[in-house]
Amino acid sequence: MRRWRLLLLLTAVLLSSACQSPDPELIRLGIAGRPANLDPLHATDAASARVNRLLYRSLVDFDAQQQPVPELARWERLTPTRYRFHLDPGRAPFHDGQPLNAADVVATYRAVLDPATGSPHRGLLSLIEQVEAVDTDTIEFQLNRPDRLFPGYLVIGIVPARLLAQGHDFQRAPIGSGPLELIERGGDGQLWLRRRRDGQQLVVQQVKDPTVRVLKLRRGELDIIQNDLPAELIRYLDGREGIRIERHRGSNFSYIGFNLEDAQTGDPRLRRALAHAIDRGAIIEHLLAGAARPAGALLPPGHWAGHPELDGVDYDPDRARALLGELGYGPQRPLELSYKTSSDPLRLRIATVLQDQLARVGIRLRLQSYDWGTFYGDIKAGRFQLYSLMWVGIRTPDIFRHVFHSASLPPGGANRGRYRDARIDAWIESAEAAQTQTAQVTYYRRIQARLLETLPYVPLWYEDHVCAARADIHGYRLNLHGNYDGLLEVQRR
């Protein structure tokens, strides 16, 4: 009898500790990836960038069409190579109470441009020849070549000049002037944040496993979860009591890339055959739960430099077979290609379906899946025949020079497939030199149409952003980029 009582007691203790109710004052956001770097001068990964834009403020932000708009400062173009920025007089001070001045902006950009800092953003900003403060509210940038897109590059969070000079570790203790400030870090990659406007406490927490994330949401250990959910879990959550699902169109561009120096994939007819063999509709419907829209170009149609009419290559297996036949491939001589992908379960699943779809027109795909580091290293070095990847957070059309210009071969750029097209090169240069935005748009649309014709990439889709929140959470809004800006408005009611 005593043993039973002990057991009962033990169960009770275990249950009570497991049912600890979460603090109602907190709002917790669960995400898959850990924001690795809170230093805006060094961070490059998406999760860090999404948190950093809330901790720090930058000179410029973007509107819905991805046009640069004033954030900390409005600007005027004095000459094609000289820009003047006027800081917003009502700007918030840094988290430590010190005011933000032109000297801080200058110090931040000088630090980025200093090779000793080792900032990965230095390459993009290398067109800045000089940056100087005119007075406490005004900054001037002198460029070494004209670039109409220049204001859109100034998205680095501004940090205090004083701390920069002291060699402050912003990764450990981020101090910016953004609407959120870091209170402390918890275990398991938790970030405890305070909203400066009303003191609301927020926690951004990494939970790697999607099933665990969903269960934590249902139990109330998390209030919001965002993205990286398999289609089945979205369906599982949809319509469940006490949970609300929200979706928003996204701009992250998935594609299949080719090595154009390869004897097989260098042939545009072969690339077209492969593109016709892919049934994107079926993949979007069954593997992505409909949460994606077909893509025809790197920039989504809503982007100011996007092409409104391109939606990719149609699924047409007969045409694919015919094209392969013309190239001399057929049942007797099947085409074999190797395809690299990361070992992420969803990517591997999509790869397996692609393998199946291509097999139906007689293309044998050999899948090679690697952990992220190895995979990305191979892609950057150009060691692939075919691969699939996603461009995340693309905002300015300078991406076309970075990815498709023949002068952007790695390691200097991201033309990883070694695409060389004289017309594309000329149009990219003309777009950059164009004096009006209308002229720029014309060139960028031409570039995108030509890319769809020559297919250095097979455009696949833009994945939607999905979030699930508990019923008492209000005001969390998704946007095109899947960032965490919703934290600025979210309330528990």
């Binding site: 099933t211 089945e232 599982y236 069954h286 593997l287 379960p345 699943r349 397996t352 393998q355 899946s369």
Partner: protein, 263 residues
């Protein structure tokens, strides 16, 4: 019936392994509209996260585990028995060296060593066989050595030595046949642990490579959908449970029958 059930399960396993190469089976056939369909809706044993039939995949997985078990047990039994008996028979510093090697191997947890080896060799089913055999021979070697130490004192061995037989002949003809009973029992239990070890390595992604099926990799794929499609884990898990249980029951029975002391 209760007596025959384990044997029946093993026969089914072997049969599945032999039949898995048939064209009628389509373990890799993708039907997107059947993704995660449970058995009670779509028939068979249900479908996996790519709409592939689980029944066909369990059979394909049976082949993987069966051949891996067969190869690993054969390789490690042959190697282990030879090394163990030579070591026991020769004695002296050879024996001491081999005992030290065996001790070193035994000091590591077997599966951890197999994971390390499979990691070094790279993924692939051939490498799994090599890794598991490199770990598996130790048990056989230790058993064979202990048996040989007591057997070599027997009269028929002494007689053979007196008659001038060669060492090889003595070991192969006069010692190893007498070892077979305990070694067979060891081999049976070895099969069970290798089925689990192969599944473990495949679960970690070190075994068969997609799209090939293994029970371990099927369970790994299934864990991601445990909330919405438990059948993806239950089907291969049950298959593995039944096989391992059957092998162990038969091993027990075999031991009872072969052990003279229990008769």
């Amino acid at each position: 019936m209760g007596q025959r059930l384990p044997l029946l399960i093993l026969l089914l396993w072997a049969l599945a392994a032999l039949l898995a190469g048939m064209d009628a089976l389509e373990p890799d056939r993708i039907q997107l509209e059947l993704i995660l369909a449970p058995p009670w809706e779509a028939g068979g044993l249900g479908y996996d996260d790519l709409g592939r039939p689980l029944l066909d995949r369990v059979i394909a997985g049976a082949r993987t585990s069966f051949w891996v078990a067969l190869w690993v047990v054969s390789l490690s039994a042959v190697a282990g028995t030879l090394i163990g008996s030579v070591s026991g028979y020769l004695g002296g510093w050879t024996d001491r060296m081999i005992v030290h090697v065996i001790d070193i191997f035994l000091a590591f947890p077997g599966i951890l060593l197999a994971i390390a080896l499979a990691g070094i060799l790279g993924p692939g089913i051939g490498n799994v066989v090599i890794a598991l055999s490199l770990v598996g021979w130790v048990g056989f070697a230790r058993l064979a050595r202990a048996q040989v130490l007591s057997l070599k004192q027997r009269e028929h061995v002494v007689a053979a030595i007196a008659l001038g037989s060669r060492r090889r002949r003595i070991i192969l003809r006069h010692l190893i046949p007498l070892l077979s009973a305990p070694l067979i029992v060891e081999a049976t239990f070895g099969v069970a642990s290798i089925v689990i070890a192969e599944a473990g390595l495949s679960f970690l992604g070190l075994g068969v490579q997609p799209p090939a099926a293994s029970w371990g990799s099927m369970i790994r794929d299934g864990t991601r959908y445990l909330l919405v499609a438990p059948h993806m884990v239950l089907v291969p898990g049950t298959a593995m449970l039944l096989v391992v249980l059957a092998v162990n029951l038969l091993g027990d029975r075999l031991r009872d029958r072969m052990d003279v002391r229990l008769r």
